[in-house]
Symmetry: C2
Subunit: 542 residues, 2 copies
């Protein structure tokens, strides 16, 4: 059977994959369903869709079109959700900026991404104004004055977001992308060293990852999603698009605060939220007066670091089911899920936590996930011990790095995306991270996984946060140096912690040095190891 | 931002969409999970995947490759599931034959599809042998002797399916399709008139529809799927591929019998099944001795005809949640779902049934669903009254009709797939079928929806099945003629039923004639109206 012309792709049977159709479907199918809760505001799907189209219309009226970049400097508020639809509806590229960046960092990205427009929250407008002074590019500005807060406007009245949207046509006839390979979003990696890289997402991947979230997070009509994960972080793991597939409800949240989270969960029936372990800690360590009871079980998707055992137990008792995900900006957020097996629930708590600490298996939407020797590109044995580089392949891998052919080619060498993360494959096929390539410590020629040492430290009852990095050493090349933040009121000495580790691992792996201090963390709760690495190095002079 | 070469598609970030990866994922992630239950047999995902690869290897060894057709004449047994993976793993096209066809019908399809191989169940082997005598093509035969039954082998011992698979390599290195537009399956429409048409499915659509089933049927790890819907019917609505996405369990079933269904539901914890209303009737009308209690709620996906109110109530009481789906062979099975709203559950039973009778809204995987005037291609008003033709558009619409350019062009005229079904769009966006184009009755220039009359008849307590067709009439052109099958022991006269209808609709719509008889039904439980239309016509001479 060979294909003839009459069997070629045509509009009746071939349309570009895109998440944009999801909101049209939700708006026509569930027009009265509440799409967005923000303070006292309730936005139905009919209104959400109309506003996204009006935003698209207004952007189009200002000359924004296919391939143009629209940057946003917004918290988790309705305009950020609207931008996830309105911007690509004109074929433009959404560049959601990390709100924790400084003005120079924002200026760099505005220039590198060639932003034509910038939508900014009033609270962040002073930062944006400073960045615009530093930037060469001059995007037009739209300022969102969030009615739930009282912050003075920084840019002229004429830039008002509500007025901008109100002037657009809510019936704007948007088109799907000309090609599903068209770029939908541009996300800059946090870049611990050097300039950040601009990761390009295409419509195809965004639609598939968003759909994958429905499957792996078990979302359904009636699901209520709480915005604890920043939407500037891998487009909120694509959940701005996922929620529309099931016509679920978004609950906005300007800041991750315990009381606001508990109130949302109890008052709005939240079923799903995502966040780094720090969000779990915030929930668990909240004062009793801020905690609320709620009848539903809530799925908490976490990533970034394996949840320690006491946190898992605490979350379970508090009404949360924790799922461990893994991915990178380059994989649209989560592309790997620790798919839980019933039998594991019967294990002892420590064994259960060990299972939970593994990153897991590929999303159904990801074609390939493997741990390969980066030199030979051969898979490592699935023995849970042999370390290789975690690599991804398939439709939920980025298009490439914006204006960076060399980094793109390097990332895709050998036909796989190189994550830079080191890990193992267990005999049951689940992968587990052992370290970032740059975080491995080589002491006397032996590789030491900083994660392994950190896991041991986290088991010590006095330790709140721990990070282990390489400290240059004349004799050994490098030795493990631990930075530790103790729990409030808890006590432990350097000797205590070194002895604790030596009891739990080969002696050469135990820290030689322990520094007690508050650990620097990113906006998403990741410990900033590069800062600690610098500290360990400057401290290393003999 | 314009794309450069380094941002073009490459294997690391672009892979063909295909359902084949789903089984590889299930086998590596959940190797010990039971994939298939068949009698006393239990096949794990590791074994299912190995057997599918061995089948692919064996087919490849016999020269079957890209674009070749492999026909199957099988009941809902493990080889039919294996064929859904093993056949496309060599790039071949699965042509699952309707087991209710006669030898001439099968011969036509074998010839038209140019089958190179035929896998046949022993029980159907006499039929296959007869068909092969009539066919010009001479596929090689593989015969499956199902161990759960005792049927003599018809073809030589050397054709044995188990031996065929055993000779293949379970580690066979299959490849994804070269192009996601490659054909994965060929399904012949039952064709009430003229030769059947061969509907071609591509890998892209099969993957997307299979994923859509997970979303709209709420399938998850642990789901157990009972095979009441024939797998030869639109590839079992793509569920052979759907179940692998969640690593669920298939429960095979040679025949739709009440006892076997209840036993499977109670013994294996079935959570999902699909079927025509006749399957519901079989469940509800089963003798008490064949019924079993079960603790779980079971999702029953039905299509073909709106479930009548008493059936819905009976199903609810018996532990089933009924979802109404709609689609055609040309849309990979279900592409439309009656997405239920909580508020509707509080309605009176009759109103609830009226909501349930609507076909609904598009799957998230379907890009466009509309009711259009086929002359102007303009949408009908969403008033629930204006009849137009239901049309589909997008990635879960067939590639076209095999070796039939003219029918393909006709089906895709104006950029939409023309379903041939007449329907309305309600103000809330849900569509409802009013008739097949050929089933509409035109009496005195007025259109009468045969479905509307049938719905009225179904509400009569004595009516088991009803079908209304046009009867030629000198004065009116056509008049509605009802064929009615009464419930066992129930009584009603022609005058009773006509009066019943006149009480419930405009008088011109009520049947002029009522014929009491057993109604002819297809293998999937659809009433064969063309037979009745013939009967009404032959009866029409003045």
């Amino acid at each position: 059977m060979s294909d003839s012309d009459f069997l070629a792709r045509r509009p009746a049977n071939h349309q570009p994959l895109t998440p944009l159709g999801f909101i049209e479907r939700a708006a026509t199918t569930h027009p009265e369903t509440v799409a967005i809760i923000h303070g006292d505001q309730r936005t139905t799907y009919a209104a959400f869709y109309a506003r996204a189209r009006a935003l698209a219309s207004a952007l189009s009226g200002r000359g924004v079109g296919r391939g143009d970049t629209v940057a946003t400097l917004l918290l988790n508020t309705p305009p950020q959700l609207e931008a996830h639809y309105g911007v690509p509806m004109v074929g433009a590229v959404l560049n959601a900026l990390n709100t924790r960046l400084d003005a120079a960092g924002i200026a760099f990205i505005l220039d590198h991404g060639e932003a034509k427009a910038l939508i900014v929250d009033s609270e962040l407008a002073p930062l944006a104004a400073e960045a615009l002074k530093l930037a060469r590019t001059a995007p037009f500005v739209v300022e969102y004055a969030d009615p739930t807060i009282d912050t003075p406007r920084v840019f002229p009245e004429a830039t008002d977001y509500e007025a901008f949207v109100a002037a657009g046509d809510p019936g704007f006839a948007w088109s799907p992308p000309a090609d599903e390979w068209d770029t939908i979003a541009l996300n800059y990696t946090s870049g611990t060293t050097g300039d950040p890289k601009g990761v390009l997402y295409h419509h195809r991947g965004a639609a598939l990852l968003a759909t994958g979230n429905v499957i792996h997070a078990g979302m359904r009509p009636g699901s209520v999603y709480l915005w604890t994960l920043p939407m500037f972080h891998c487009n909120g793991w694509c959940f701005p698009w996922t929620v529309s597939i099931v016509a679920g409800t978004h609950v906005c949240l300007r800041y991750v605060r315990a009381k606001a989270m508990y109130d949302a969960i109890a008052d709005h029936g939240v079923t799903h939220l995502c966040g780094a372990p720090i969000v779990m800690a915030t929930l668990l360590n909240a004062p009793a007066a801020e905690k609320r009871d709620f009848p539903q079980r809530v799925l908490f998707n976490t990533a970034a670091a394996p949840p320690p055992e006491p946190v898992l137990a605490g979350m379970d008792a508090a009404g949360f089911d924790v799922t461990h995900l893994y991915g990178l900006t380059e994989t649209y957020g989560p592309a790997v899920v620790n798919e839980w097996k019933d039998a594991w629930s019967a294990l002892e708590p420590a064994e259960r936590a060990a299972k939970k600490a593994r990153q897991g298996v590929r999303y159904a939407a990801l074609d390939g996930l493997d741990v390969l020797d980066p030199e030979t590109m051969a898979p490592v044995p699935a023995d849970g011990e042999t370390i290789g580089e975690v690599m991804f392949r398939g439709n939920v891998v980025m298009k490439g790095y914006h204006r960076n052919p060399s980094a793109t080619e390097k990332a895709f060498a050998g036909g796989w995306f190189h994550s830079g993360d080191l890990g193992v494959r267990h005999p049951d096929g689940y992968i587990q991270l052992k370290d970032r390539a740059k975080d491995i410590i080589i002491s006397g020629g032996e590789n030491i996984s900083s994660i392994e040492v950190e896991e041991a430290l986290y088991k010590h009852p006095a330790v709140a946060f721990a990070a282990v990095v390489a400290k240059p050493d004349e004799k050994w090349g490098e030795t493990p140096c631990a930075f530790v933040e103790l729990k409030p009121g808890a006590e432990a000495t350097e000797a205590d912690l070194i002895a604790w580790c030596r009891d739990r691992m080969a002696h050469y792996k135990a820290p030689r040095t322990v520094v007690f201090r508050e650990l620097p963390k990113t906006s998403t709760g990741k410990i900033q190891k590069f800062e600690l690495r610098k500290a360990a190095q400057s401290d290393a002079a003999p």
